[in-house]
Point group: C2
Chain length 103, copies 2
């Protein structure tokens, strides 16, 4: 598969990072997309360099989780685009991600 | 509101075009977003120059329609990112849009 996923638990959510082999993916890759399972009791933060339609498909895929956000490098945080619970961060709020620490 | 929507009936779908006043929108604009009603018996094609999170929020908003696609200017067509019906174009297929004719 041309798209690799990495999941990392963060506070109340799963950070879902994708990486596209060679940097280019095709619409047909969506047909075979198998995003990883996440803890549905939290949110999902989608991050990666890819086309809008990949984000739209992933946001749709995870819509049953508590909330979904997409990382925006210009903001340095993730924007909540939908939520299922009133205790989730509101749509339109910006969720900060933990700083990455060197391994 | 900073985001204007235009809907145009196309073959089996509604073309939903958005335009951001001044070209810049803020995450907080999502909280007050009121996307227009569309014919839910067809698909929705989302098109416009805007951030990934706006697309993700709009794709989520219209998920009850038959299918959702996002326009990709590089492809010159719209990529289907989700569908509700087996008669809808499959996820990952590219839907061509009608050429615009001068008014």
């Amino acid at each position: 598969m041309a798209i690799q996923f990495t999941t990392t638990p963060i506070d109340g959510a799963t950070l879902l990072e994708f990486e596209i082999d060679g940097g280019i993916c095709e619409p047909s890759d969506l047909a075979n997309l198998v995003p990883p399972d996440v803890d549905g009791t939290g949110g999902v933060v989608i991050s990666g360099r890819g086309p809008v339609w990949l984000y739209a498909a992933l946001a749709r895929h995870y819509y049953t989780t508590q909330w979904v956000a997409t990382f925006d490098p210009r903001l340095g945080g993730a924007v909540v685009t939908s939520r299922h619970s009133r205790t989730a961060p509101p749509v339109g709020s910006v969720v900060e991600l933990p700083k990455k620490v060197p391994e």
